[in-house]
């Protein structure tokens, strides 16, 4: 009996504490990432936590179990809305979350897309992935010079907007015929002699590159969706004795990736800034809690080309700059 009373008192105490927190009007901001494990999202979460602490907001976090796990993200949106969160920052892992986002918005929640765009978000703070693609495309073209291009495209997986934007942007930057930034399809030309899906994963990147080399041993440019896939591609090239003279370009700018640029494994990478996305999102959440004014529109959080060798006519920063701005462990 006494245990029950204690439990009841404890419960009442918790409820009271919760009420007190609400009464103080400390804004609660929710952050939902694609996974807990990718260093990109780990850094984003750290950035959001630091910013929330600075401005006196409370941060709730959740994530999918893996890329494409929209079910967990939807559950998190619902839970956070029920918990009284007024702003949700989310890196969408698929458009299946849109109806849940709409429902949250109807209850007065501001929903801001970080990193990955989707229809119906109040605002978007993200890398311009098409531009990220263009930068490495231009670099690869300049580095290759006049030789005829034989390009391997190591993509993410079919149907993801970020994968399509980087792919098509790369081709545009390379001077090939390419779809625009809104397309979710992948461009193909005679120069792109091989394409494979990597899921952004090193082992799969290696397998895809090995098979591409079988298809065309003369591949001289490799586009990769991210740096783990690039590391896998390099492994495959090295095993085939072809690592010299093949230009690998990538996107992300994590510290491990920048280190690969310094070693010449990756020729150039487009660096993006997850900390900035998170900090801007938290600031917008606090602003909404204070003034009731929602954030709108798209803010480009910037992208910088980090290259091993500077090439005349291409605007790039060196590895030193890249290392100062990178995220995750090297």
């Amino acid at each position: 009996m006494s245990f029950k009373i204690k439990a009841f008192l404890a419960f009442a105490g918790l409820a009271f504490a919760g009420g007190a927190a609400l009464a103080q009007k400390q804004p609660i901001i929710g952050l939902i990432t694609k996974t807990e494990t990718n260093p990109f999202f780990v850094k984003m979460k750290e950035g959001a936590q630091a910013e929330a602490k600075k401005v006196g907001a409370k941060l709730m976090t959740a994530s999918g179990k893996k890329d494409g796990d929209t079910a967990s993200q939807i559950t998190a949106i619902e839970t956070m809305t029920a918990a009284g969160v007024k702003t949700i920052l989310i890196t969408s892992t698929g458009d299946a979350i849109i109806p849940a986002v709409k429902k949250a918005q109807e209850k007065g929640v501001q929903v801001i897309a970080l990193d990955s765009p989707f229809d119906g978000a109040d605002a978007l703070y993200a890398t311009d992935n098409y531009k990220a693609g263009i930068l490495i495309g231009e670099y690869a073209k300049a580095a290759l010079g006049a030789a005829p291009a034989k390009i391997a495209m190591l993509d993410l997986f079919p149907g993801h907007p970020v994968g399509a934007q980087r792919h098509n942007g790369f081709m545009k930057g390379f001077g090939l015929q390419a779809l625009d930034a809104k397309s979710n399809d992948l461009s193909k030309t005679a120069e792109t002699v091989c394409a494979g899906d990597t899921d952004g994963n090193q082992a799969k990147g290696q397998t895809a590159m090995e098979n591409c080399l079988q298809k065309n041993p003369d591949i001289n440019v490799v586009y990769t969706i991210n740096e783990p896939a690039a590391a896998g591609a390099y492994n495959a090239l090295k095993k085939a004795g072809k690592e010299k003279g093949v230009i690998i370009v990538s996107v992300d700018g994590g510290c491990a990736g920048v280190k690969d640029v310094s070693k010449g494994v990756i020729a150039a990478t487009s660096q993006q800034y997850p900390l900035k996305m998170a900090a801007m999102g938290v600031a917008a959440g606090v602003e909404y809690a204070k003034t009731g004014k929602k954030a709108t529109g798209y803010v480009d959080t910037g992208v910088t080309l980090i290259a091993n060798k500077m090439i005349k006519g291409v605007d790039a920063k060196d590895v030193k700059t890249g290392t100062q701005l990178c995220w995750g462990k090297a």
Partner: protein
Amino acid sequence: MTPKTNSPWGAVPWTALGPWLALLAACLFFATQTERFLTGENLSLVLQQVMVVGVLAIGQTLIILTAGIDLSCGMVMALGGIVMTKFAIDFGLHPALAMVCGIAVTCLFGLLNGLLVTKVKLPSFIVTLGTMNIAFAVTQIYSEAQTINNLPPMLTALGQTFSIGSTEVAWGTCLMIILYALVWRGLVDTAPGRHVYAVGNNAEAARLSGISVDKVLIGVYVLAGFFYGLAAMLSVARTGVGDPQAGQTENLDAITAVVLGGTSLFGGRGIVLGSLVGAVIVGVFRNGLTLMGVPSVYQTLITGILVILAVAADQMSRKGSR
């Protein structure tokens, strides 16, 4: 390997030929589509690409032969890979000793699975669903989700190749083939091997004939863990890093390989070499379709169809033999 009617585990049905025929058909098809397919170099590559799944599938075959299933194999492998690379880098342990530690961890997970299945009498599906999540979480926590780089050469030695004529063959491929040969003969020629089939066929009958069912089962799970540890060595050697994201696709791919290879999910029937064929079939489709320039999602589609065909064939032959 041709089916023998007087084989120690009873009649091998004609369907046991299925996976070999499917592999042959796939190879013939791709050979007509692209001249690059049927080269020694390309075929050696396919074997390198399936060595991790192939060795995982040995452990998985042992468990499925006892009418169990192991959903944790890929995650346990990933943990083993992280342990061996982190021990070598962080503690400066001798690479050989680090590998032993990694394999010890995967064996321990096998022991845990085996004890829960036998002593607590939980279904293997549920036990390994639990240990799959535990192994995944421990891997992420211990590695802080970071890839482990700059490995000593010994850890990547199995990924190196040697030449037979103009064809480069990986040491890891050889290890996989040797392991298959050993397990195949071990299952057929030794008493413990036959006990595995007996327990899978009918555990109660096996107990009545004096076989210690629990000992056989625990032995099978620990041995499976041992093979996951070897698969971890191969995975580390192949990619050259300790990857906390390893094993996620291999987890179900190993079960797919076993099923494609004709081992019955109801236990007691199957040939371990079939699992190798099953793994190679998946690799051949991935490779062949890339050479043809077909998107890889079609590989997934074909794998799905083949899995259903394989299970249906097993089911039909079971009905027929009753």
